[in-house]
């Protein structure tokens, strides 16, 4: 169905793709994997018509094509579901689904009633219960994902590309998605599936292709490869231990942070959590369970409607980020580009950002001191960049994440909260971040890790707290931590409230 031959694409100073080959057959699910910066994103954009290749050929449905805009590719039957949705927050679900293909009635006027009905039917086919009249801005992230995916079903699609579709959904919703994809496969649709989650790839893909540094490494049938081989292809080296050894010493008695009866604006109800020095606690649960909200409530980023927080025995009456930071709590946010990094500044400025006092003397910033600190951290965390003055916008996801972690780690904190610390980070950098986290824990810092990746939770956590629909549904420790036990706690109780 699709065949890329000898495709190359470069941007100023960076060669994103070097003469890659890639093909997808009708009726197959072809997984595309590789580290960040390997060229997957660029390839997708070329297939979608958003970029034009510098060299090489693109063949679709047997014919050579030269698309200049996304509209052309779309018209040809290609649909892309991007990781970051293309949804319009102020339009309704129905309008979003049918944007560009509105149902028309008399005189060519748009028939809103029919649009709504057809949207409802589509959503039902996908097995989701979303009101087509709701504004997209009112939906949860998981529901938005479903809307995004249902857009693909509107058209007679020949090639469907999914970019990290399960980054924000899991469990039941992911299974529904896979079922849908199988159904599409049976209809002869060609599917390209990009994901960092190797378990899923083994679950649904027929073939897998690995990219590395803009080059094609290997394409193989899924039955013929093992997980570790794939990882080593991606990284270029053999990785036996992704996760560092867990805590050796027995749990310390020192409770550094204790939150009780926390409620956050309808998203979290009466949740309590205890963090101990030197311990990595994972906060697990389905997307939408309220984990980020609970963590943000503790940090002061979201207002809490009830509950109390004690840091090192000291009771806090009000929480704001500034106070939290002063008391030694750091927060590595889920979305580093929109909530974590000052994207227009350099590494040094970002590292000092949570603790400006340390680089300020007499009201002025001491650039020398700042750069010196940055160099130290670059060294400690092996951040790949050209120096303290490197703009963070030019760095890869993994290195950006390291900058953020470095920033918080040096505030002399007692608690570090990390929300999806390895999202959008390639395998190589992931391992380093895990080691960093364990290293910080060994120094006595209490770590709270929010994660949707079960292997990550099982591999890293000393203790797991599971949330379900805003409540704490259980805690697990030691040998009790397995993917099954976590999942069962995360999905156990029936919904108590229609949200």
């Amino acid at each position: 169905m699709l065949k890329l031959t000898g495709i190359s694409k470069g941007f100023t100073g960076v060669q994103a793709l070097s003469s890659i080959n890639f093909d997808v057959r009708a009726g197959e699910i072809h997984a595309l994997i590789g580290e960040n910066g390997a060229g997957k994103s660029t390839t997708i954009k070329i297939i979608a018509g958003a970029f034009k290749p510098d060299a090489g050929q693109v063949e679709f449905d047997g014919k050579e094509v030269h698309w200049s805009r996304p509209a052309d590719a779309k018209a040809a039957g290609i649909h892309v579901v991007y990781q970051e949705f293309v949804l319009f927050p102020h339009l309704t679900v129905a309008e979003n689904i049918f944007l560009g293909h509105e149902r028309r009635g008399a005189f060519g006027l748009i028939d809103h009633a029919r649009t709504r009905k057809d949207a409802a039917a589509l959503l039902q086919k996908l097995g989701v219960d979303i009101d087509p009249d709701k504004l997209v801005s009112e939906l949860t992230v998981a529901d938005q994902q479903m809307v995004e995916i249902s857009k693909a079903l509107v058209h007679k699609v020949k090639l469907l590309i999914l970019d990290e579709p399960t980054a924000v959904i899991s469990g039941r919703e992911a299974d529904l998605l896979f079922a849908r994809l199988s159904a599409l496969k049976a209809q002869g649709v060609a599917i390209v599936y990009v994901s960092h989650r190797l378990e899923e790839i083994f679950q649904i893909a027929d073939r897998v292709t690995v990219f590395k540094d803009g080059q094609h490494v290997i394409t193989a049938d899924i039955g013929g490869v093992k997980r570790n081989r794939l990882i080593s292809y991606m990284v270029g080296r053999d990785l036996r231990d992704i996760f560092p050894a867990k805590r050796k010493a027995p749990p310390s008695d020192k409770i550094v942070l204790k939150a009780e009866n926390i409620s956050v604006n309808g998203r979290v109800r009466n949740a309590g959590i205890e963090l101990r020095a030197g311990e990595i606690t994972a906060l697990s649960g389905m997307v939408g369970a309220g984990r980020t909200e609970l963590a943000m409530g503790i940090f002061g980023g979201l207002p809490i409607s009830s509950g109390s927080i004690m840091i090192d025995g000291e009771r806090m009456d009000r929480m704001t980020p500034a106070l939290a930071i002063k008391k030694g709590v750091g927060f590595v946010t889920e979305d580093r580009k929109r909530q974590g990094l000052a994207m227009q500044l350099d590494v040094a400025a970002n590292i000092s950002a949570a603790d400006l006092s340390s680089v300020t003397s007499r009201g002025l910033i001491d650039r020398q001191r700042e750069n010196g600190i940055a160099r130290q951290e670059i060294d400690t965390y092996r951040i790949a960049c050209r120096g303290p003055a490197t703009p963070v916008a030019t760095m890869s996801g993994g290195n950006q994440q390291k900058v953020v972690v470095a920033r918080w780690a040096r505030t002399g904190g007692k608690v570090l909260i990390l929300d999806e610390p390895t999202r959008g980070v390639d395998v190589g950098a992931k391992t380093e971040i895990y080691r960093i986290m364990r290293g910080l824990a060994d120094k006595g810092i209490a770590i709270l890790m929010i994660s949707s990746e079960l292997p990550e939770v099982v591999g890293m956590a000393d203790k797991v707290v599971v949330m379900r629909e805003g409540l704490i549904s259980g805690e697990l420790e030691g040998a009790g931590i397995t993917e099954e036990t976590i999942l069962s706690l995360a999905t156990q109780h029936p919904t108590q409230e229609v949200k």
């Binding site: 996304p70 927050p89 560009g100 748009i110 504004l135």
Partner: protein
């Protein structure tokens, strides 16, 4: 079932928040005016208000669309000045020139708008800056044409502004009709819906392959056309056009749009809100006149109304 209905109602209220608020304010003001003065309640006064609001209404209509796309047109004032001066200058008392000049001016307005649109698309510069630039150039051009009032219009021409049909000023009727047409367009036509999409998420619209260029050209072209309508109307009203006719209209064309609930960032709002906003402002000026408050305080009041209105439309700011 009842929860669904009330949820639907809640959503309608949220979607049309602006319109409802303006309407409420409008009613409140009407009541207030009726109470404080007898003359206020006369049909004559009401007709007066309708008449006076025509100019502002026409240009605000065009501005509504540009703002809905997330942009803005700061050249409207100069465009109105230019077109109004040209109108009276070219007609120059000759009744036979009326028809061709009107057609020409309407076309010229459209062309100016299209040029704005083209520059915005080609140069990829923010509409605020582009239209600021073109507006400045246009102001210079009109001053080249004439430093003061130009030409004059024959008697018959003023009919456009003062004529009545069944007792209602022509202008007011025209305004309602054209607002309704545009309202229909943005609700029931694809290109109209795309206006909202582009305003909501421009990059997304581009990625989805929506005809962004068509949308921008349509919107700015129409805005230019609206300027032409306004210019013709104002020339008919004052009997002559001059290089500063439109001076105040640039910024005051934005007020009704915003007060009517359209977001300055685009993607949300509509023409009904703008129309109500126009009436609200005209009504406000009228009431203040009856209260014998000088025009200076009217300005203050207008500014305060803007502040009040937009403060209420606070988009629920999610703390993180």
């Amino acid at each position: 079932m009842s929860t669904l209905v009330s949820a639907g109602m809640a959503r309608s209220i949220r979607k049309n928040q602006g319109v409802i608020i303006v309407f409420a304010l409008l009613v409140a003001l009407l009541v207030f005016g009726a109470v404080i003065s007898d003359r206020f309640r006369t049909t004559n006064n009401v007709l007066n208000i309708l008449e006076q609001s025509t100019g502002l209404a026409l240009v605000s209509l065009g501005q509504t669309l540009t703002i809905l796309t997330g942009g803005i047109d700061l050249s409207v004032g100069s465009t109105i000045s230019l077109l109004s001066t040209l109108t009276s200058g070219l007609i120059n008392g000759d009744a036979s020139m009326i028809a061709p000049v009107i057609v020409g001016i309407l076309l010229l307005g459209l062309v100016i708008g299209l040029i704005n649109g083209l520059l915005i698309i080609w140069l990829k510069v923010h509409p605020l800056i582009v239209t600021l630039g073109t507006g400045t150039v246009l102001q210079g051009l009109v001053l080249l044409y004439s430093l003061g009032p130009a030409g004059k219009v024959p008697k018959g021409f003023t009919f456009l502004a003062y004529g009545k049909f069944l007792g209602i000023p022509l202008g007011a009727i025209f305004v309602v009709v054209i607002f309704a047409l545009v309202g229909l367009f943005i609700t029931y036509f694809r290109l109209g819906r795309y206006i909202y999409a582009v305003g909501d998420d421009d990059a997304g619209a581009r990625l989805m392959g929506l005809p962004r260029a068509k949308v921008i050209l349509t919107v700015y072209g129409f805005c230019g056309f609206c300027c032409a309508l306004t210019a013709i109307y104002l020339t008919a009203r004052f009997g002559v056009g001059q290089p500063y006719t439109g001076l105040n209209y640039t910024l005051t064309s934005i007020t009704p749009v915003v007060v009517g609930g359209t977001l300055l960032s685009g993607g949300k709002g509509g023409v009904l809100g703008t129309l109500l906003g126009v009436y609200l402002i005209s009504l406000l000026n009228n009431v203040l006149n009856f209260m014998d408050i000088s025009t200076h305080y009217q300005l203050i009041a207008q500014g305060l109304i803007v502040i009040a209105a937009v403060s209420i439309y606070v988009e629920k700011r999610k703390r993180i």
